[in-house]
Amino acid sequence: MATDPVFGRGETLISPISPSFRRQRGNWGLTPWLRANLFSSRLSAVTTLFIVYLLWQALPPLIDWAFLDAVWTAPDSKACRAASGKGACWAFVAEKHRFILFGTYPFEQHWRPALATVLLIALWALSALRACWKWWLALVWAGGLAVIGVLMWGGVFGLGYVENERWGGLILTLILTTFGLAFAFPLAVLLALARRSGMPVLRGLAVGFIELVRGVPLISLLFMASVMLPLFLPSGVAIDKLLRAQIALILFAAAYLAEAVRGGLQAIPPGQYEAADALGLSYWRKTLLIVLPQALRIAIPPLVNSFISFFKDTSLVLIIGLFDLLSTIKVALTEPAWSGFGVEAYLFAAIVYFLFCHAMSRYSQNLERELAKAEAGRRR
């Protein structure tokens, strides 16, 4: 076509009504699609029919349970008990949603953690937009976190003081994750750089820390932070439980993230270091201008993987008596009137966790695509 412009133009003009175009269009229909994708061979046809049979068996009862026979609202659990086994008891979630989302925070003050939650989610959403990757984003975060602190603690502007022992629910999960990642990520970059440094002492410390923290379960780290740490502190110095858990989470996340960052660092060809050295760039300039921009981009998939598992790992703070989203559900279930509706409660938790994790995952895919596009043709 390119060699013959006249013929090329003619072809384009008549193609929408040409027979070949109509034939092609026929191929996009439902029947050819089914034949190509679901019934391409005997084995594939049998598999398709089998899966359809399974769905036929499983889906209608599930829909009955979750929607048609479900109890949506009820003043107490009697209606739920009557429907037990046939329909889901969403009334439990409806009844307990305030406690599940806000924990033991004073009931009449629930608007404060609610607003803080919305604010925190808005901050994350804002940071996801590449147009907002400017210096002022740091100021927005600082201001936003200050407002969240005021909302949660209170004690000023006529807001009653609420000690952080009473914080709970979704906002606690979000706070633990936000501060966990905000501190763990820079620490992880430093650890990864130290692990690859030429200085044996520094390298040894980094390797020791990473191996030690990765080698023990998060639960034991949290126990140590909550039970043993206070023993080592000088008398009179007390760090509250939330902060101790936060520190344990930061250290844990840093060890995992450091390995993800190291993977990215290892993928940088030695020639990049040599070229930077030959220009006379100092170590930190070389690292910040040449190495990290490339290494972190390569490390996006494993980093997001760690972010997502960290978000879910924060639920382990329940074992040291902090009431995050999952713990408040557990506590809500202990009320005798409502015990036995665990499936519905945990399904609700799963949906909330999934929404956040899926958002992270979709965003990272999007980011990878955008960065690749910004550098289109980096490798032709």
Binding site: A278, L279, L281, S282, I290, Q294
Partner: protein, 242 residues
């Protein structure tokens, strides 16, 4: 400009450079050749200390290189280097590749650095590529950007480590042309290359290395017409023999 005296270098137990002596004066052009593994690259990488030597003296522009990082930084600011595999920074545009050194090492104001970079891109004849990323350029264009990047630091000495070995044949000339021009302007140059045509026209001296030693060092006319050693004769017959 460069003095090397009795320089020795080991990689583990492998003796890479053996009692190397080399003196290069200001404005001189040296071409270094020899079979692979003969220590050519190691030798020129000593000059800006991408490799370190274990014994002997390396003096560049009056500064003797030891473990003192300040001296190494001082020398790297005076010495430009061009690599076989270009080593451009893929996440930066061509222009950013050029201005990085002047801005961050020499603290040059950004507009001035940009102006200098554009001048140098004119000189290597690719100003229209300034906004592209290195991956969008051909090998020959990338290597010319790499030369411009090194020149942006206004070096007193340029090192070339097999600058045309990774290029497709039709792109070799565009890079060599730039290097010939640079030589004509009086730049001190040390070039590791097997481009013997380039050596004949540009070099003041050809240095032939084998097994970590300088076997012969002579003006190109003498070296090509009457090599003194059997090793050099063998090498020349191998690379010129077809």
């Amino acid at each position: 400009m460069i003095q090397m005296r009795k320089v020795n270098k080991w990689f583990g137990r492998f003796h890479a450079l053996k009692d190397l002596d080399l003196v290069v004066g200001r404005g001189e052009k040296y071409v270094v050749c020899g079979p692979s593994g003969s220590g050519k690259s190691t030798m020129i990488r000593l000059i800006n200390q991408l490799e370190t030597h274990q014994s002997g003296q390396v003096i560049v522009d009056g500064v003797e290189l030891d473990n003192d990082l300040r001296k190494i930084d001082a020398v790297r600011r005076e010495v430009g280097m061009v690599f076989q595999s270009f080593n451009l920074f893929p996440h930066l545009t061509v222009l950013e590749n050029l201005t990085l050194g002047p801005i961050w090492v020499q603290s040059m104001p950004a507009p001035e650095a940009k102006e200098l970079a554009m001048q140098l891109l004119e000189r290597v004849r690719i100003p229209e590529q300034a906004a592209k990323h290195p991956g969008q350029l051909s090998g020959g264009q990338q290597q010319r950007v790499a030369i411009a990047r090194a020149l942006c630091m206004r070096p007193k000495l340029m090192l070339f480590d097999e600058p045309t070995s990774a290029l497709d044949p039709e792109m070799i000339k565009e890079v060599l042309d730039v290097m010939v021009e640079l030589a004509a302007e009086g730049m001190t140059m040390i070039v590791v290359t097997h481009e013997m045509g380039f050596a004949r026209t540009v070099a003041d001296r050809v240095v032939f290395m084998d097994q970590g030693e300088i076997v012969e060092s002579a003006p190109p006319g003498d070296f090509f017409s009457s090599p003194q050693t059997a090793r050099a004769r063998l090498f020349l017959s191998q690379i010129l023999g077809h």
